[in-house]
């Protein structure tokens, strides 16, 4: 387990974290408009990336079903927001995604490696076309309108979900489940033989990660007036968290958070400066990041820091 002594450095880190959260929670009272929207967007990707990492990081099962769980949140918000209070909608969205992930997890137990990735990829596509078909037959329309919430409400909701996600991630990492997940990632048979309930651990953690994804989806949906299956289940939502986690570095939780923040901000910047070249530049950055930063931006920083300090403590 990752229990470390409370050194001064760790006290300082916790203090810094507290300051960051206080600033983040006071922010909407100080400024309005774009910055709050941008932060909501960043927090959304922090939730998705950390949520993805909770399961896929230690186990090496690359899930591409993020968009499916996130999109389900969209549709829950479209159906229930308005008649039900916003808080209830968010929790329902999380619960539905949770149950869905339980089913998917139970179905995919036999699949490993690239098969799991392809399965979850296909699942997202299938959910998209099923929803499209159901809408066509039942409502006769392509998309739906969502009852909106204010920028501030969405921001606070997302901030709370972010904190929930981070706390959950830390708790799972520190608990025996975190250790169990790591051993599953390294050698699944050995993990099973040493008494870990492999099935239960995998499925429950997968479902827990889907829970926060669903909640994030429900919140973001209320910031858009109109949704359709193409928006809700966009494949980008499945791939971006993986890239953000890779870009940041998967060694600890700081990496994905930094990855999500940098990528989202970069995306916004490119989108406003070069709308035509946006996706092209994004693709290039992505390929370069995968090719030249195998341990992510955090790994790179550690390497540079190691060199500055005179080569002592080479990165593990």
């Amino acid at each position: 387990m990752n229990i470390k002594r409370l050194t001064p450095a760790r006290w300082a880190a916790s203090g810094l974290l507290l300051v960051v959260f206080i600033v983040l929670s006071l922010l909407p009272t100080l400024t309005q408009g774009y910055l709050v929207t941008l932060l909501t967007d960043i927090l959304r990707y922090v939730v998705l990336t950390v949520g993805w990492m909770i399961f896929s990081g230690p186990t090496n099962y690359m899930s591409l079903a993020t968009a499916a769980f996130y999109g389900v949140g969209f549709y829950i918000a479209a159906v229930f927001n308005g008649p039900l209070p916003f808080v209830a909608v968010i929790i329902i969205a999380g619960a539905v995604s949770f149950v869905m992930a339980l089913v998917v997890g139970a179905l995919t137990l036999r699949l490993r490696g690239v098969y799991f990735a392809i399965f979850t990829f296909a699942l997202t596509l299938m959910v998209t076309s099923v929803v499209l078909e159901v809408e066509r037959v039942v409502t006769g329309t392509r998309g739906r309108f969502v009852v909106t919430e204010s920028t501030q409400t969405a921001y606070y909701a997302m901030l709370i979900v972010t904190i929930v996600t981070l706390v959950m991630a830390v708790l799972i990492r520190r608990s025996r489940y975190g250790l169990a997940l790591q051993s599953i990632g390294q050698y699944e048979e050995a993990a099973a033989h040493s008494g870990i309930n492999v099935v239960l651990t995998k499925v429950m953690v997968f479902a827990a990660s889907a829970f926060v994804m669903g909640m994030a989806g429900a919140i973001i949906a209320t910031r858009r007036t109109y949704i359709d299956p193409g928006i809700a289940f966009s494949l980008n939502t499945s791939f971006w968290p993986v890239l953000m986690a890779l870009f940041g570095g998967m060694g600890n939780l700081v990496g994905p958070v930094i990855g999500a923040a940098v990528f989202t901000y970069l995306g916004e910047l490119l989108l406003t400066r070069f709308p035509d070249l946006y996706m092209l530049i994004f693709g290039v950055v992505l390929i370069l990041a995968i090719a030249f930063m195998p341990r992510g931006i955090v790994g790179l920083a550690e390497q540079v820091w190691g060199k500055i300090r005179g080569g002592r403590g080479a990165p593990a």
Partner: protein, 287 residues
Amino acid sequence: MVVIRDIIITGLLLGGIFALVSVGLSLQYGVGRVMNVAHGEFIMIGSFVTFWLFGSTIHLDPLVSILITAPLTFVIGWILHATLFRRLMDTSPTLDVFEGKSMLASFGLLYVVQNIARIIWGSQNYQVMYLNRTVTGAQIPLNRLVALGVVIVIGVVFYIFLARTRMGKAIRASSQDPTTAGLMGVNINSVLAVCFGLGVAMAGIAGSLLSTLYAIQTSMGLQYTVIAMIVVVLGGLGSVSGAMIGGVVLGIVSQIVTYFQPTWTLIAYYLVFILLLLVRPKGIMGK
């Protein structure tokens, strides 16, 4: 009976196309372990190069343009593997990590290729009008029949290449056991690059043929990637003959479902795919 006959004929014709779309991906994954999400983008490149040559002043026949698209896409694929994927191979500690990273890198490629194409050709639909008439009593579209013929020729040539040539032997050896193949004097890096190039070239050829059958647009790639993935898993990951069989199976399934309810075709693809992964993940020809 006429209905069944038509379903089988159109299913076979479509299956041939599906097979051609998928063989390249099967090769890339089977030998190189790259689950190339950008596969469909190279089909799109093949289509647009064909369209461009057809519309230009030389008015090149789409079948002849295969002679240009195939080498062109081969070179693109070869360069990609020799630079990007070889680097990923060197930096990845295990094969699993490499599979994950190469899949993501190919997702990046998808963005790059698609957006370069969009900058050049925009987002509207185009169509190459070629052999647009039907033959025989069953009203078989001539262009589809020609496409199926080309698919069969390419399949046979490729089979002979794998079975009889020195390079083909090296490819088969590398797909079975890269380390031992390397010890026997096979230059693994060059074999893998050639394989990836061949896979991309197959996509290019498929694109040339597809441009004569359907309307093409720069965003067409992903749908073919998905079909290729389904077919490749259906036939067995890495099995070239499996991809051929899988293509025909999916083609016939597609025509049966289309006959009853056209809007369910996509759902049926995914359902077949998901059920297959759950029941027999190794695919029809998998070992």
